[in-house]
């Protein structure tokens, strides 16, 4: 499928007051090449293997393919992953008719918080909450695949 999403920095912790769920995510990459990232993720009781292509010029549209796997499989695959495992908490925050996913990073990416909203069309409008900061859609350095290799603390 094709995924359309926009990504923003986050200005305050206010999103926490509106979050309907939070979940710890641990993930690594079997390939960090933006042309073909291959991600291994553990999220709660589930594992996922996800392949993403490069985004279009605007950075909003990206091919994404995902398969559910077991946590045991994900753990085995994480061992093979490149250095730089990503550890974060994801908050789900409804705003108007959309769901924002706000990722708070730990470890070498501590201090970075990023919000993403998935859209059904590139031009789709959505309500921007107070805590939303600068847009960073398409900026490769905010790809999780890059945050493993060049973490926020080294910027």
């Amino acid at each position: 499928m094709i995924e359309i999403e926009r990504k923003f920095l986050v200005k305050s912790k206010e999103y926490k007051d509106h979050a309907t769920s939070k979940e710890r995510i641990v993930q690594g990459f079997l390939n960090t090449d933006p042309e073909r990232t291959v991600r291994v993720r553990i999220k709660g009781d589930s594992g996922f293997l996800t392949v993403k292509g490069k985004s279009n010029q605007e950075g909003t549209t990206r091919f994404e393919w995902e398969h559910k796997i077991t946590v045991t499989e994900a753990e085995q695959l994480l061992i093979l992953c490149e250095k730089g495992i990503i550890d974060k908490t994801r908050y789900t925050v409804p705003v108007g008719n959309h769901l924002f996913e706000v990722d708070e990073f730990y470890g070498d990416n501590e201090g970075l918080t990023v919000a993403e909203v998935e859209l059904s069309a590139e031009k789709e409008r959505f309500q921007k909450p107070e805590w939303l900061g600068e847009e960073v859609t398409g900026d490769i350095k905010y790809y999780n695949s890059q945050l493993g290799k060049k973490p926020f603390k080294t910027w």
Copy 2:
């Protein structure tokens, strides 16, 4: 799972007389790094996504994880793969108590034929047929992941 296999060159076409099946295989790689190859394969009516780790020092043992996917999914993922799609016919050849898989390559690897036998233990003995040539177990240049980038015709 851990896969134990040995790989050989093939000296003659005689294996064809003993093959019990043959199947066309088309495959590409989402990562060709021997530390973590990610393979997309179409084999008959099925698709597969396979992750392999690096082999041990002897080259016989390698972590392998495989997931069945649809041909449509495989076709979509092949578009994202690195250059150098592999196209080959695989013959299944029973010899004694073992099954050899003999791969005849096409395209830029035309002229190369390689036989593999899967074992249940590293020291397991098996019958070597007449047509079996030099052992190339663990030689990375015969990995399919490498044959896409540096095909046989360029050697």
